[in-house]
């Protein structure tokens, strides 16, 4: 028999372990009810650890005035609470930032389920705990089992009290250690009666309501079962991480069907418990309707479910398709609030599912008791407006009927009334269509069916007509209404997609960050129909500092989050999570900040002022954020690259400058010094030699002076200190002046060919310097008898000025570099070498005047000659 491959550790389990290693540990002291002694135990153990030398700090401990608990604090250090100012009140709350700064080894934070005072960074204490663990601080905390999110319904049924402060199951599941503090209910009741838990009058009240023995027993069972489950899960995790094969949980997957009815949250909690019991992954699905149940979907996410939303008309069909695609085995659904006619016809979703979901285990969740109706998230237009417009549409049809009365038979008038029905159904939905159908039938009957002005129907054919009308109207209202609804969804989605497409086209453009960021802000503002800002991080100054958020673009331009909102932005940048309104972090500010992420991390934030939740809009925004993130990263990389190139060029220039200084300053200095020393030290020199040495010294001094002037010019150009004084300049005049001067000094002819040109706004003295330089070069390179020509002409929108020589030309490989500083023509031809700066200076000066300069070589047939052309836009 072939040997089985040795079992390998499960990579997922190892990853989960590794992820835990860097986070601070979490230890939860879990109890079934208040007063079992969680805080007491926690303090006792903390003191043992403190005595052992650990740095233990009390963040928050609620003693409830219990003497035994107070005594346990003893000499443990306590972190001062932060004072929060909220609407004129001063509230005391746990000081998260102080704790983060203080970095104790172990932090005690009582009552994990506590809701923080308004104005705190996180609404819930368990979120503070998450941040502390993120920072590597070990946290010890306490909680009662009824605060566990997924047990909310069960606890409410048992105790009759709905717990408002809850902790997601994932937090407890993510704890490294859970210690159950357990005492039998009878003992707990004794303690309560002795007044060791509450003051006497409170204790009396508690005994009558919450602290009934039955309640306590049920809660105790829940706590025990939770801890037992955990032990189980720990063992399974350990077995997986260490590749111990054993009884694996089945391949179950639980799918929670989240509807838009009040039982949605209850469905999610039930599904979580079923998934826990089966140790199966949890999925959640919402089939899109008019109002996505945001709260329930968020809850599903917080319970660790993988949430998806699909749009479909055939809801049961879509559910089953999804369930099969995701290999779900258990479907959990609520009973919903189906319409009466559906209930009567057996067309409720649960009935349909029971019929069609033959290969799934179906769980129907009990209807939640006495839950308040959820607030309807208001659509853009107030709902009464759409209802009010239905009678208007019917009245309009009535007007048409009255106008054509007598011209057409009254039966045909019924057709006129179908128009407002279809219109109402398409525009607003099936219910509006139904209202329109009712109104239309009444009007038609009352005004046009004989006997007129009564609701009585006379003839049998009119009865048939009325019945047919009513049926057609109802059918129309139903089908067109559904059609209109799905059309609206499709249209909204298409609008979103179009926007994204447009946006991605804009992002694809060549622009850098300066164009990109306003485009992102504008697009986000359009998607949200409100103000939007784009925030990029300023690199932190030190490793301990947080990146500072800076608003780089805003739409409208004066949109400006206040200081409190910027604190949310800072947190979002640091942690890469959404903050602000509607999120778990700093929800009191008016803005919401969404991170733009790429594979390399958070590149920045988009800040918006969120409105009522809208699935389509949020999806569009999410797509936009993804695209913007990639585009911003690309632009930043491009900028970085450009900076790198510029740095390399500067480096190159600097080393070329040093080489040039070494050579071009030293040679004339050596010559001058040598000539003078020779003159001084050797009295026997001939008169001619003495003259030559003096002349040499003079010439070298001139050369040195020109060289230094060139260097200074170059430095001024490189530093952008050349500011041209533009004035209308006559090109012909400028060429005449420069060419005439060089003709006089060199005695060589320079041909001028200048067309009639308009005056060009240039700096005449800079132009003269450029022309002088170019002509001087041309004379040098054309040889002693070569012709040199200066030309100027109109070339399209440009004025072109060229200097041509008939010298040997420039080798093709040198052509691209001749305008670089310190580039020299190869010196094999014994032409007096310049400083290598002349053409670079020309380029700098021409660019400062807004022009371009290029070189062409060979300029003439026969492979000879060089033409330098400057072009200035008119």
């Amino acid at each position: 028999m072939a040997e089985a491959e040795p079992p390998r550790p499960d990579p997922d389990a190892l990853l989960a372990l590794a992820a835990r290693e860097h986070r601070g540990r979490l230890k939860v002291f879990l109890g079934a009810a208040p007063g079992v002694g969680k805080t007491f135990e926690m303090l006792a153990e903390a003191r043992r650890r403190a005595a052992g030398g650990d740095d233990v700090l009390i963040g928050i401990v609620e003693t409830h005035g219990r003497a035994e608990t107070i005594a346990q604090i003893a000499d443990l250090p306590i972190l001062p609470r932060a004072a929060l100012h909220h609407r004129g009140q001063v509230l005391e709350e746990f000081d998260l930032d102080a704790a983060l700064a203080r970095r104790p080894a172990i932090l005690l934070l009582d009552e994990l389920a506590h809701s923080n005072a308004p104005g705190s960074r996180h609404p819930k204490r368990w979120q503070d705990v998450e941040e502390l663990r993120e920072a590597g601080i070990e946290v010890w905390t306490t909680m009662n089992v009824q605060h566990l999110e997924s047990l909310g319904d069960a606890v409410a049924r048992i105790t009759g009290v709905r717990v408002a402060e809850t902790v997601p199951d994932a937090v407890l599941a993510g704890a490294d250690a859970v210690e159950l503090i357990d005492i039998p209910p009878a003992e707990l009741l004794d303690r309560l009666k002795q007044g060791r838990i509450y003051r006497p009058e409170q204790a009396q009240r508690a005994l009558r309501s919450f602290f009934r023995e039955g309640n306590l027993a049920a809660l105790r069972e829940m706590a025990l079962r939770r801890v037992a489950d955990r032990v189980d899960a720990d063992i399974t995790g350990w077995m997986r991480a260490n590749a111990v094969s054993g009884p694996w949980p089945s391949g179950d997957r639980v799918l929670a069907l989240v509807g838009a009815d009040p039982s949605a949250e209850s469905v999610v909690r039930h599904a979580r418990r079923i998934a826990d019991a089966l140790r199966a992954p949890l999925l959640a699905l919402h089939v899109e309707g008019a109002e996505p149940p945001e709260a329930a979907l968020r809850l599903a996410e917080s319970l660790g479910a993988e949430v998806e939303t699909v749009a479909a008309h055939d809801v049961p069909g879509a559910i089953l398709a999804h369930a099969r695609a995701r290999n779900a085995t258990h479907l959990v659904m609520g009973r919903g609030r189906p319409a009466l006619w559906r209930r009567l016809t057996g067309r409720t979703l649960s009935a349909q599912m029971a019929r069609r979901a033959e290969d799934f285990t179906l769980h129907l969740v009990p209807r939640p008791t006495a839950l308040p109706r959820p607030r309807r998230a208001g659509p853009q237009a107030p709902p009464w407006l759409s209802w009010a417009s239905v009678p208007l549409l019917v009245a309009l049809a009535t007007l048409v009927g009255v106008a054509t009365d007598g011209a057409v038979p009254e039966g045909a008038l019924g057709m006129v009334y179908l128009v407002p029905i279809v219109a109402a159904a398409v525009l607003f939905g099936p219910w509006h269509g139904l209202l329109a159908a009712g109104l239309a039938f009444i009007c038609w009957n009352f005004l046009f069916l004989p006997p007129r002005y009564t609701l009585v129907i006379a003839g049998p054919q009119d009865v048939v007509g009325a019945v047919v009308f009513a049926l057609v109207a109802l059918l129309l209202a139903g089908t067109t209404g559904r059609l209109g609804q799905s059309m609206r969804i499709t249209r909204a989605r298409a609008r979103g997609l179009r926007r994204l497409l447009e946006f991605s086209r804009r992002l694809g453009g060549p622009g850098g960050l300066p164009e990109l960021l306003p485009a992102v802000a504008q697009e986000a503002a359009r998607a949200m129909e409100g103000p939007a800002v784009v925030i990029l991080p300023l690199p932190p100054l030190g490793p301990e500092e947080a990146p500072e958020p800076v608003i780089r673009a805003a739409n409208p331009v004066d949109a400006q989050p206040d200081e409190g909102a910027m604190a949310a932005a800072r947190w979002a940048l640091r942690h890469g999570k959404p903050t602000g309104r509607g999120t778990d972090t700093l929800p009191d500010v008016a803005w919401r900040f969404l991170p733009m992420r790429t594979a390399h991390g958070v590149v920045g934030l988009v800040g918006i002022q969120p409105r009522a939740p809208d699935g389509e809009r949020d999806r569009t925004l999410a797509g936009l954020l993804d695209q913007a993130a990639v585009a911003i990263e690309r632009a930043q990389l491009m900028e970085e690259q450009a900076r790198g190139t510029a740095r390399a060029e500067t480096e190159q220039l600097r080393s070329a400058l040093l080489t040039s200084l070494g050579h071009d300053l030293r040679t004339p200095l050596t010559a001058i010094r040598g000539a003078i020393e020779t003159l001084r030290a050797s009295p026997a020199l001939s008169e001619a030699t003495r003259d030559d040495l003096l002349l040499a010294a003079e010439e070298e001094t001139t050369r040195l002076g020109r060289y230094i002037a060139n260097i200074l010019d170059m430095v001024r150009i490189e530093n952008g200190q050349v500011v041209p004084k533009r004035e209308p300049t006559d090109i012909a005049d400028a060429i005449e002046a420069a060419a005439g001067r060089l003709q006089r000094t060199t005695g060589r002819p320079i041909t001028r060919e200048v067309a009639a040109l308009p005056l060009v706004p240039l700096d005449p003295s800079l132009l003269d310097q450029v022309l002088g330089n170019l002509l001087d070069n041309a004379l040098k390179f054309s040889g002693p008898d070569g012709a040199v020509r200066a030309r100027a002409w109109r070339d399209g929108h440009d004025i072109a000025i060229a200097v041509e020589d008939e010298g040997p030309g420039i080798p093709a490989e040198d052509l691209p570099r001749i305008f670089d500083p310190f580039h020299r023509a190869s010196r094999t031809d014994h032409i007096a070498a310049g400083t290598g700066l002349g053409l670079a200076i020309c380029r700098g000066l021409v660019a400062a005047m807004g022009g371009r300069i290029t070189a062409e070589s060979p300029a003439f047939p026969g492979g000879r000659g060089t033409r330098i052309v400057m072009r200035f836009p008119v």
């Binding site: 070494g662 030290a681 040495l693």
Partner: protein, 230 residues
């Protein structure tokens, strides 16, 4: 045999203005200058005209001075003085290691160049038979007996210290010796890069020389010279 004609000095430099003043200066000092603008021209003239010394610019357009030196040494033992820039330290040392005799930095003082030239010519003429006893200032080095005296008083030198002093003295008065040349001569080729040895031993040697310590002059980054300053 004495040559009555003025000694020929070949100047190899690509800058015409250097020739322009060096030619009359060398003439006035009693030499016959030869001029070459490129390395190839320099080699050709060195072969044809047999100059007594060569002044060589390292920055030639056609040929690296370091490449020229071995070719020149192939047929001529004429001393070579490098005309170089201060910022080309490595180039200078490489040229000295490759057989150049001395160097001056541009812009150089004419007097200094002429002094170096005289010293080089003097060393070149007396090179055939190094003297048995070398005297410089108060110092007297007795080569055959491996002894050194300052003001007639014997110095107690370790063998390494003696070798070092002898190597410097043997090179000739005012001749620059590179660190590498000294290390190879005293410690062997395996220690050519161990410049820290030199710093230690030169320090000890100077201490023992006492009053005569100034005879060993440091050329920073290059090497050492022995002798009273020119």
């Amino acid at each position: 045999m004495t040559d009555l004609a003025p000694p020929k000095i070949l100047v190899v430099d690509d800058e015409p203005q250097i020739h322009r003043f060096l030619a009359p200066a060398l003439e006035a000092a009693g030499y016959a200058p030869l001029r070459a603008l490129t390395g190839a021209e320099g080699l050709r003239m060195a072969a044809e005209r047999a100059p007594r010394a060569v002044l060589l610019d390292l920055g030639l357009p056609d040929m690296d001075g370091k490449a020229l030196l071995p070719k020149l040494r192939g047929f001529s033992q004429a001393p070579v003085i490098i005309l170089s820039a201060r910022d080309r330290e490595d180039e200078k040392v490489a040229a000295l290691d490759a057989g150049a005799d001395d160097y001056v930095e541009k812009p150089f003082a004419l007097a200094e160049l002429l002094a170096r030239l005289r010293a080089a010519l003097r060393r070149a003429t007396g090179a055939e038979a190094p003297p048995e006893i070398i005297r410089a200032g108060p110092l007297e080095i007795d080569m055959p007996h491996r002894r050194a005296r300052v003001h007639g008083e014997a110095l107690h030198l370790t063998p390494r210290e003696w070798d070092l002093l002898a190597a410097l003295a043997r090179a000739g008065q005012d001749k620059v010796v590179t660190q590498r040349q000294l290390l190879v001569a005293v410690w062997g080729p395996a220690h050519a890069e161990d410049t820290q040895y030199l710093r230690v031993y030169i320090g000890q040697l100077r201490q023992k020389l006492g009053e005569a310590a100034g005879l060993i002059r440091t050329e920073p980054g290059v090497g050492y010279r022995f002798g009273e300053s020119a």
